[in-house]
């Protein structure tokens, strides 16, 4: 239960007047305030700075230091105040949490000091309000990263004998600085990449003349040498690729990664060339394949952080680049069309078609101006407009792209963070909600124990259960009144699902295993969280429970309609069920009997029966309740 509304508990209890006239059972007794003291001011002295607040303000959160009796340890008898030898600045935030129900994180505060203080006062940091939560999480993550970096640098100096050979190899590949062998390997591969790229380049340089024929490129003149170099490089690359493939922790993911694709593309042309040397027809295609050898230069990105960042930059602002391209294309088409029609009149113009004018437009707009296509007078007017607008069209999107890029990048990061936090927040809220309802169920069980102990006449055990505060006991009394009004009890989710699972198992006795297997949806979803059997609540199975759970689980089901006319075999049950409400009320005790229900042999679509009455005494057997629902499961 949240804090600030503790003050509204009297209102909630007063609002229960609406339940009284409709309840059929007597209400439980209200908890009395034994030591009904007036609300008093208490003084909290934190390192000399005095804070004052009402006692009830602090008691809103009974599971923290200030809200529980733990603060009595800090009570100073001489000055009649509570003295804490802690930071007063952070205490301000802590006390505000009690007052307003919201915990804030001050930005000037160090994250670890703040965490320490929260741990001291017994407050979970998850309660930090939305306004400050992001900042808190950011700082916490930075702190954690810093700690991790420290740990890593410590660990790197130690040897780690526990890694397998494969893991050491992978680490050596990813992090060349781990060992000298890795460093050697790193430099050797770098060297060979450079050699390969340079040979590709030098291959095409004309290399002097052989007497009697025209100038040859070096590649053809010293073909054997170049072939040997190429072979050596490809050997090294192949060996490296295979080693990486072997060492990768997830081979499938490694194969799909960009770097491995580049590796493959870089070495494939050589092997394809080996295979296809004899075939003269496809030698043209083979020559084209050699262009892919230039991809070897991208292998440098493993060696250079900057290249990787550049690649990531381009990838992340691809939409902006696309926008630039689109606007350019639009402008090019417009101006090409205009130029074509403007030049159509003149006879010897090079503007033969609109696509032919594209080249002119591109060259003009990017201010290159080769001069291979020159318009006549009419075209010059539009040509000048084209070149002027070219400057604008090119120059304008670039700063926009740059600023957009940084904005979007940060925005996406923040949005992802928020989205990730949202799931976590909702989970926390759910946990808190179940926590408060669990508190009620927990105290009910304690109340049961108390009643049982009272019956056996041990009065000193009574006080064991009175550890809840007055507010909590009043809240629980309110929930108990609601239970009495509606004749239903609160149970937790696990118990509910257990009930439905048991009732389902009870109702499919003879064909248990196949039926369970044929209704996998029932067992998996209903009983996905099987809890151990706890015996404090009666285990009476209710087909009604099962009915309800069936409604949730099955996709198609034919519900046995509510037919008041039931078969004669259950007429006696009907009688019992009618005055079932009364016996339920007369006994306020919850028994711990295990009620067994003999299972019906056949599954026939019959009407739904009323829920059985709770047993007034221990160890009674309720006659069989055959309420079956024909379920056509879509599984």
């Amino acid at each position: 239960m949240a804090a600030g509304v503790a003050a509204w508990l009297p209102f909630a209890r007063a609002a229960a007047i609406g339940w009284m006239p409709v309840a059929n059972c007597p209400m439980p007794l209200a908890p009395t305030d034994k030591n009904k003291r007036q609300d008093e001011l208490i003084i909290l002295n934190v390192s000399g700075r005095r804070f004052q607040t009402w006692r009830t303000t602090l008691e809103r959160y009974p599971d923290t230091l200030l809200g529980s009796t733990e603060k009595e340890f800090f009570f100073n008898e001489d000055t009649k105040e509570y003295f804490f030898d802690r930071d007063p600045e952070v205490f301000r935030c802590v006390l505000n949490f009690y007052r307003t129900g919201k915990l804030h994180y001050p930005r000037y505060e160090c994250i670890s000091a703040y965490d320490d203080e929260l741990a001291f006062y017994g407050i979970l940091p998850e309660i930090i309000g939305d306004c400050c939560y992001e900042e808190y999480k950011d700082r916490k993550r930075e702190n954690a990263e810093r700690l991790m970096d420290d740990n890593d640098s410590e660990n790197n100096q130690e040897s780690m004998p526990s890694l397998s050979f494969r893991q050491t190899m992978w680490r050596a590949f990813e992090n060349p600085h781990t060992s000298t062998l890795a460093l050697v390997f790193y430099y050797v591969t770098g060297f060979f990449i450079a050699v390969s790229v340079i040979t590709n380049v030098v291959e095409t340089v004309p290399c002097g003349t052989v007497p009697g024929s025209k100038e040859l490129p070096c590649g053809e003149r010293y073909s054997v040498a170049f072939f040997c170099l190429d072979t050596a490089c490809v050997m090294i690359f192949t060996v490296e690729y295979l080693l990486r493939l072997f060492a990768a922790p997830s081979r499938y993911r490694f194969i799909r990664s960009v770097m491995s694709i580049i590796d493959v593309v870089a070495i494939m042309p050589y092997y394809i060339g080996l295979v296809m040397t004899n075939n003269e027809d496809v030698s043209g295609a083979f020559v084209t394949l050699r262009v892919f050898r230039v991809f070897r230069i991208f292998k440098f990105s493993r060696h250079s952080q900057g290249l990787r960042i550049l690649g990531y930059t381009l990838k992340s602002c691809a939409s902006e680049l696309g926008f630039l391209l689109f606007s350019l294309t639009m402008a090019i088409i417009i101006f090409a069309t205009v130029m074509f029609y403007a030049e159509k009149g003149s006879s010897a113009s090079k503007f033969t078609s609109i696509p032919a004018s594209f080249w002119y437009t591109i060259v003009t707009m990017t201010t290159l101006g080769y001069g291979d296509m020159v318009p006549t007078i009419a075209g010059k007017i539009f040509g000048s407009i084209c070149s002027l607008s070219g400057v604008l069209v090119i120059a304008l999107p670039v700063p926009v792209i740059v600023s957009n890029f940084s904005r979007i990048y940060h925005q996406n990061q923040r949005a992802d963070k928020r989205r990730a936090q949202k799931k976590a927040r909702l989970a926390r809220i759910r946990v808190a909600k179940t926590g408060s309802s669990n508190a009620y169920l927990h105290s009910k069980r304690n109340g049961l124990l108390n009643e049982a102990l009272e019956l056996t006449g041990t009065p000193e055990e009574e006080h064991m259960g009175k550890t809840t505060s007055l507010i909590e006991s009043q809240h629980h009394h309110l929930l108990h009144c609601l239970e009495k009004t509606t004749n239903h009890e609160f149970i937790d989710e696990q118990m509910f699902e257990q009930n439905c699972m048991e009732s389902s198992m009870q109702n499919y006795p003879s064909t248990r295993s196949p039926s369970l297997s044929s209704h996998p949806g029932l067992t998996t979803t209903c009983c996905s969280r099987r809890s151990k059997k706890t015996t404090h609540l009666p285990n009476s199975n209710l087909p009604a429970t099962r009915l309800r759970s069936m409604q949730e689980l099955s996709t198609i089901h034919i519900q046995g309609s509510e037919q008041p006319s039931l078969t004669t075999s259950r007429s006696s049950l009907n009688l019992k069920a009618d005055d079932g409400l009364r016996p339920n009320c007369k006994t306020s005790q919850i028994t711990t009997a295990i009620i067994s229900i003999p299972t019906p042999p056949a599954l026939t679509p019959e009407g739904e029966s009323r829920p059985p009455p709770a047993s007034p005494g221990p160890n009674t057997n309720i006659p069989s309740i055959a309420s079956n629902v024909v379920k056509v499961s879509a599984l």
């Binding site: 600030g4 007047i17 609406g18 006239p21 409709v22 925005q411 309110l478 239903h488 149970i491």
Partner: protein, 225 residues
């Protein structure tokens, strides 16, 4: 643009998105919610002495009540949303919004959509410090949704459903669809003397006074504060 980011994961999608942005303009309008038509005017209650005269609370009790009230509603007025939210904190397992609406209508005696501190304290005074007849009157007023002086079965069914809604899903025995209706039937059997299908205030008070349980439970409210 955040909405699009989730949908368009592929680069093709991104290009399409940028084309769309180009055509439609990439400025996303700020969606500022200007829906504050509620009572934002700060309301101060009358003085303590007047409230002491009008209600049966002592000075200290009024002080405690006001401090709690003001903490949750700094503007001095509670609107229906706030009311529902406060009430739902006490019933984590179920859905208490319908019942909270009925309560709100019962507290809001002048039907202006807001419950001020005077309304609040007046209602509490009747429930917690009034005579049994006063309390029964107040309960009747709560049930009579259209305030026409008699409770019909439909009104009672609405109330009953809202009470059962507060229990939530995880109950033992599990809630059935017709449980509220049956409860309404038994209620009318008890209350409706002349069997005309409606319960008037006289019938209600008379029947409640005859019922031991109800009389005893009405006395529970004596020491809530």
């Amino acid at each position: 643009m955040d909405r699009c980011a989730r949908r368009c994961r592929s680069p093709l999608g991104q290009a399409a998105r940028s084309i769309y942005q180009l055509v439609a303009g990439s400025l996303s309008p700020d969606s500022v919610e200007d829906e504050f038509e509620l009572c934002t005017v700060c309301h101060r209650p009358e003085g303590l002495e007047q409230l002491q005269e009008q209600t049966k609370f002592t000075r200290k009790e009024l002080q405690v009540l006001y401090r709690g009230f003001k903490n949750e509603c700094p503007s001095g007025m509670v609107n229906e949303e706030n009311f529902k939210q406060i009430y739902s904190q006490f019933f984590p397992q179920g859905d208490s919004s319908t019942y909270a609406t009925f309560l709100f209508n019962a507290f809001d005696t002048n039907h202006d959509g807001c419950v001020s501190f005077e309304d609040f304290v007046a209602g509490l005074s009747v429930i917690l410090r009034g005579t049994i007849d006063d309390r029964l009157n107040w309960a009747f007023n709560l049930y009579d949704l259209n305030k026409d002086g008699c409770i019909t079965k439909e009104e009672m069914l609405d109330i009953m459903k809202s009470i059962y809604d507060m229990m939530g899903k995880y109950t033992y025995p599990a809630l059935r669809e017709e449980a509220p209706r049956e409860h309404v039937e038994s209620f009318f059997q008890k209350m409706d003397r002349n069997k005309d299908g409606v319960v008037t205030i006289e019938e209600f008070i008379e029947s409640c006074q005859k019922d031991e349980n109800i009389m005893r439970s009405m006395q529970l409210f004596d020491n809530v504060i």
